[in-house]
Amino acid sequence: MTNCAKGVEELNIDLPWDLSAIPEYFFFFKDAALLTLQITTLGIIVGLGIGLMVAFAKISHHKIFNIPASAYIFLIRGTPLLLQLWIIYYGLTAIVTIPRFPSAVMALGIHNGAYIAEIFRGAIQSIDRGQMEAAQSIGMTYPKAMRRIILPQAFKRAVPPLGNQFIIALKDSSLASTIAVHELLLKGRQLGSSLFMYMEMLIIVGLWYLIMTTVLTYGVSVIEKRLQVSDYRSEH
């Protein structure tokens, strides 16, 4: 124990970085963290909306729906988010100039929409066919059976992969730093260069991401547990 503590102390002395700057500057990043959170939250909301629509379009038997849906997923999943972001922010300037923040939200939303669509589609199609048949056998219309019987079960199955996707989205929001949105990563780089303390500031950035992903993971697990009520087999 004491050896170990000693070791760390010695290490501290040898480190080329001033770790005391981490607590000192930690809350300098509050606004940037808030911006990261805003981009992510809005991006996810846009992504959920797109994802739900595209999932239904892809399941549809009508070609006018399922072909565009497949094309969208093909294009978005097959190219990097950074490219998509730059196309929106730089590429579109000849037609329309979209400010930085909305560009970031749009890119994140459109990008995640493709992944979320696949999550929803998979979840909906994983529900046993017998559920739709049972719903229809009591005279329910297809849309009503979807809404009352299939979707509640599908949402439950979609929660874990959605949580995963949200964490990816949170981290991907750092790409907005490339179009000068003052989110966490850009803040870390700027402060790091002006203070000559890159490592210290980047560690702070990392800590902020860790805090947010931890809270997000915990939130998703709470939701998962709540949704499991109907799965308990206890009082049989």
Partner: protein, 240 residues
């Protein structure tokens, strides 16, 4: 009550129903037997249009059922169905399962629903399970809930698609008991089953199907003790 005329159904190249004609009277209990793959479940599923037959017609009380969504949804309210694998809604309690149809399709009032729910659960002997979720129930209890759910729509006919095939042997009795009770009350029933004693006890008519054709039909006494057709004899000798 139900008339089926010239029903033909193909799955791809496979001709599963070959010109089925069937007439089921009110209060009649018809049991369909036959080997798996004989088309008996498909026939049942064509009656409430879970499968679409390519040729032929279904008449309910003399009215021809046009294959339009609205007509089919109306038909399904009058034709209850019980599935081999129960297909209960796992995210709803027993009572919610039973009342889903009446409240969501028929829009009955809360008061009526409460009364109906209590009545139906009593009928299938599951009053104490009203607030349980399906995952907490045994197979036999699940199937009794499924029967209550179908009955909740107050159908004119009940279709049973191998209702006991997925059950442990010791649980078959409780489900068949409920079905016998229904038969006694005069419910019109078409039952696909391997439970020959149910056929003997409760059926007014037994139909033997093979390779998409009705081979023989008659009273249970006649089919079980004195089958005319060779294939019926063979089938019965294998299972009895």
């Amino acid at each position: 009550m139900i008339t089926i005329q010239g029903l033909n159904k193909w799955f791809g190249d496979l001709h599963v129903l070959k010109g089925i004609d069937l007439n089921v009277k009110e209060r009649e209990v018809v049991v369909i037997i036959g080997a798996s793959g004989s088309g008996k479940s498909t026939l049942l599923r064509c009656i409430n249009f879970l499968e679409r037959a390519q040729q032929g017609n279904v008449f309910i009380e003399g009215t021809k059922i046009e294959p339009r969504t609205k007509v089919i949804n109306q038909l399904r309210q009058e034709v209850g169905m019980v599935f081999q694998h129960f297909n209960l809604f796992p995210h709803m309690t027993v009572l919610q399962n039973v009342l889903e149809g009446p409240t969501q399709v028929k829009n009955i009032s809360r008061g009526e629903a409460a009364k109906l729910g209590a009545e139906l659960l009593k009928k299938v002997g599951l009053e104490d399970k009203a607030d349980s979720y399906p995952a907490m129930l045994s197979g036999g209890q699940k199937q009794r809930v499924a029967i209550a759910r179908a009955l909740a729509m107050q159908p004119k006919v009940m279709l049973f698609d191998e209702p006991t095939s997925a059950l442990d042997p010791e649980l078959v009795g409780e489900v068949v008991g409920v079905m016998e009770e229904l038969a006694k009350e005069g419910m019109t029933m078409i039952v696909v089953t391997h439970e020959m004693w149910f056929a003997r006890e409760a059926a007014d008519r037994v139909i033997y199907m093979d390779e998409g054709v009705i081979i023989e039909e008659g009273s249970p006494e006649k089919i079980f003790s004195n089958p005319e057709n060779e294939r019926t004899q063979q089938f019965l000798s294998q299972i009895l």
